[in-house]
Amino acid sequence: MSENQMRDAIQEAIDSNPVILFMKGTPESPMCGFSARTVAMLNSVGASFAAVDVLPDPRIRQELSSISSWPTIPQLFVEGELVGGCDIVTEMYESGELTRALGLEGGPSAGSDGTADGASDAPLTIENRL
């Protein structure tokens, strides 16, 4: 897979998942404290999200950062827009903004029933689609 194809696959993943987290490791076994904390906050507000592990291929991180103009991992996107990394998600979590940004204001159960997209529940791994 060329860099361009990698970039297109990442962009498509961002566009096709309402909430997507690029992280080190997986939600079940995060490989970095910042990724682990971000997953924990998303789980805590009851968010459904797709996840991409950037570790299997260094080009994932390289092309992602080129798309997002953001140098660090994790990166959370909502509706195609970069929301931030661990620091910004933490601030939003603490202020209650995160639930609003994710459309979960009605509470975790109401939110996940109302917005569940099916596809967004399954962790997505770009490298498995190549």
Binding site: F34, S69, W70, P71, T72, L82, V83, G84, G85, C86, D87, I88, E91
Partner: protein, 84 residues
């Protein structure tokens, strides 16, 4: 480039942030690899968090993730006192 093998220090990061962002006041802690920076600057006014953090990342370019392994950032806009 970021090929210096010397560890970064909190003092270095503070000086570079304050030099790179006009009017910024930074408080930086860290162990040489992981850093935490609390920064206020008039330049942050009117910007979203993403744009504020990008201004800070831009000071260090590709040293982020390399020589500076991790940099946690908290930003807030301060008033530009000299212009008031």
């Amino acid at each position: 480039m970021s090929d210096t093998s010397e560890s970064a220090t909190p003092e270095e990061l503070k000086i570079r942030i304050e030099a790179g962002i006009p009017g910024a006041v930074a408080s930086v802690t860290g162990d040489g690899h992981h850093f935490n920076a609390v920064i206020s600057a008039p330049a942050f006014a009117g910007l979203g968090r993403i744009a504020q953090h990008r201004l800070v990342y831009d000071v260090f370019g590709d040293e982020i993730g390399g020589r500076i392994h991790a940099l946690s950032i908290q930003t807030r806009a301060s008033e530009a006192e000299e212009t008031r």
